[in-house]
Symmetry: C2
Subunit: 463 residues, 2 copies
């Protein structure tokens, strides 16, 4: 769909109009433009021509009106941590850096909600909430991910098995449409049956339908008590089987992570944790003080019955922290374990019963294509990542990586799953989306055309 | 938007085309047409001209193609239990009775999901699941509600505080579009970041964007143990305050229902339960055998601290059943308490902190307008119903009821909530939707036009 755009440079009159509204919050600096393009994936860097820093919804309205008038692409930019080229500018245009829209507008503890500007990071929000007894659970890894970006990519992560994805934790958003009009997508009520769900329409739309400027988020009570169990298994199949049993029988599971033997090895080398080097589950339980130990004991014996060769449990903060550091550091541990290589990270998500088959087939592919690719997963959701450690100058290896990732996406789709559980489509997975959606793809196109007929909003992504 | 339709009768050629596909599964019988129009609300009955009984997605495709060719409205019909005129035929046309699409296609226990045809009722599904250890939690009241209808109205109910609404429990749907094409809206993965969320677009669309023919639903493990606490309070304010405290501090709450004093009185008269006649909370906790009593005790003392004048608890099945019968029978108890009157039921949903204010202001209105209207609520979600017991022949009372309901919707919107938490817009709440959505309403219209340009799908609803 982005081929229907002419690649004209942003006209000088548009730059003047932007400067008139934003003063020095506009730049065409090559360095700054480059910093606002894709930086964390294998996709080529395609910088925008202009970067602007709005500080209010009114600023975004003015910017969108100028872009519409001059038919210039707009690319919303949060923290740049997305993985599929979402912030690239294949048709040129203006990057909207949302980082200065970073106010927490309101926290309403009695309503278990808050309203934030789109540039607030999830780390900053949780620091802001520290004394309220509440927290925002969605954890995609990057501390600096912005809540607007997380909504745009329908992010999720380690806590999704209990607390859901961004889709489950956004009540409403303020969105600026392609014509400059401003809408509120929903209300602050916990649920609504009032017409089409526009909140869910803009979540995961990757900035192609409108620019998110504010979000009202659902908050959760900080659990009274937290317990952890870490269990190592002989085989990947046994670990996946145990994960399925745990999900079905233990209602308090808040995190259920899988690390393969390669990842555990990397973590051990980085942090000297002495973990058993087999496929391992890291499980966190959130519950009540009076009963947490009972739940941890039940989980521990379930995992042993399921064949865990080694099982450690912890409820004291320092013990938990030590164990979860392994999970949190996994990506960096993997990067350090293969110095001089770069990480190409992809994800897939399949029905639980197919998880073991999917991971085992993926590992076979990794061997067959002579790749190095540790696997880490949010397996309570059937979601996992392959972290391919590549030498970007090795043309053959990059080609094999490409084929491997394509096969991974196709395998997940064939198993009734999705080519991406949490990273999004961006530029990188458009062919896989076409395969996955089939006759539903024209419906997405029809909605895009209805809301952004000139295709100025993040062209070249999803569609 | 339905005024742009001409009210032409269904042409004879269309009837012949339908009969050629469906044989005797087509009727123009006045009685049958009348049975397929709104029967349970205060809105006028507007019967369709034709009723058809598809038995497959292919049948629905054929029906939609005929309707498109002859420009005839199509009104999907589940069980006819919706409350806002969703199944009326204000522009005439064809009712699609989905009751013969009632097969459970697959139950996949390991994936915690199942696939059903749209006409399967929630009661039948749960009976089908009886020996699997799994259940489908969404409980809008009516046992006979179909899963397709529940998805179309974004239904929810007593268990939503724990298990979510239909939006949280549908993974994917098969939908026939206005041009007869068939799409699958999603996958069977627990989550996906692959493009626009079409599943959420069709949920709550009330049949205006497509005809749902199959659904893949998320299932949940039957809880090991269930406990109940019922608590009566002196005032509505105290009951609402206690509900908020319970929601924040007890993670295992699966139902949190409010019955006002009038409702408790009606229930006592019907079933001689001897409940204390004040505003009361009915709370159900779903948890593990080993810890359920600890949770029930904690909840009991929380409710007493919050001012409960009387508190009963039960974990044995017969005791629980006795107490929950009061909640389940509430609607019928109210109907019996005012014989000769009809129930006009409406709902609203507000942020938790406004629930008490909203209910108290609503009760003041009930007095001021000289109405009889017990209040029952899913207050864990901030959602409540007013059951106005009217004499439909009393023109003044009907006018006062209308004004009262309009004020209720506006009050909920003004408090940051929604004019309907679970009943939907249908014909009855279109003005309130326009008020609530404001500049977002044209976005809904744009999507409707993009997907159903001839407005043949359930015209006169939502839009």
């Amino acid at each position: 769909m982005h081929h229907d755009r002419m690649n004209e440079p942003v006209p000088a009159a548009a730059l003047m109009a932007l400067a008139a509204v934003l003063g020095d919050r506009v730049t065409t600096s090559r360095d700054l433009c480059r910093q606002h393009a894709n930086a964390v994936s294998w996709l080529p860097v395609e910088p925008p021509e202009v970067v602007v820093w709005p500080v209010s919804t009114a600023d975004v309205v003015a910017i969108v009106r100028i872009a519409a008038k001059f038919n210039v692409p707009l690319i919303p930019f949060g923290a740049g941590t997305s993985l599929e080229g979402h912030v690239n500018a294949p048709c040129g245009g203006i990057a909207l850096d949302m980082s200065r829209m970073n106010r927490v507008v309101a926290v309403r503890t009695a309503d278990l909600d808050c309203t934030v500007e789109a540039g607030v990071t999830r780390g900053d929000l949780n620091r802001h909430l520290r004394d309220t007894g509440l927290f925002f659970p969605v954890d995609p890894g990057a501390e600096t991910a912005t809540l607007g970006g997380m909504a745009s990519t329908r992010a999720s992560g380690t806590t999704t098995v209990r607390y859901g994805t961004m889709a489950d934790n956004v009540r409403s958003m303020t969105v600026v449409l392609a014509d400059g009009s401003v809408i509120e997508t929903g209300t602050r009520a916990a649920k609504s049956a009032a017409g089409l769900d526009l909140t869910q329409l803009f979540i995961g739309a990757e900035g192609t339908l409108g620019i998110i400027t504010e979000l009202t988020l659902r908050l959760h009570p900080v659990p009274q008590a937290i317990g952890t169990v870490v269990a190592a298994f002989e085989t990947m199949g046994a670990a996946c089987e145990a994960a399925m049993m745990a999900v079905t029988s233990e209602p308090l599971i808040a995190r259920l992570e899988l690390l393969d033997a390669l990842t555990i090895g990397a973590v051990n080398r980085k942090s000297a944790l002495g973990l058993a080097e087999g496929p391992s589950l890291f499980i966190e339980v959130h519950g009540a003080r009076a009963t947490i130990d009972t739940h941890i004991e039940a989980l521990d014996s379930l995992l042993r019955d399921a064949g865990a060769s080694r099982c450690q449990r912890a409820s004291a903060l320092e013990d938990r922290t030590r164990l979860w550091r392994a999970r949190h550091d996994a990506f960096w541990a993997v990067c350090e374990a293969w110095p001089g290589r770069s990480a190409v990270v992809s994800d897939a998500c399949v029905p639980l019963s197919r998880l073991s088959d999917c991971i085992i087939a993926t590992q076979a592919d990794i061997r067959d294509y002579s790749l190095v690719a540790p696997i880490v997963g949010h397996v309570g959701d059937g979601n996992f990542h392959a972290i391919v450690m590549v030498d970007p100058s090795d043309v053959s290896e990059m080609a094999r990586t490409n084929t491997f990732l394509d096969r991974l996406g196709r395998r997940a789709i064939a198993m009734g799953g999705t080519c991406t559980g949490e990273h999004g489509i961006g530029q990188g997975k458009r062919e896989l989306l076409a395969l996955q959606a089939g006759p539903a793809l024209p419906v997405m196109h029809a909605i895009k055309r209805a809301l952004d007929p000139s295709n100025i909003l993040n062209p070249g992504k999803i569609f």
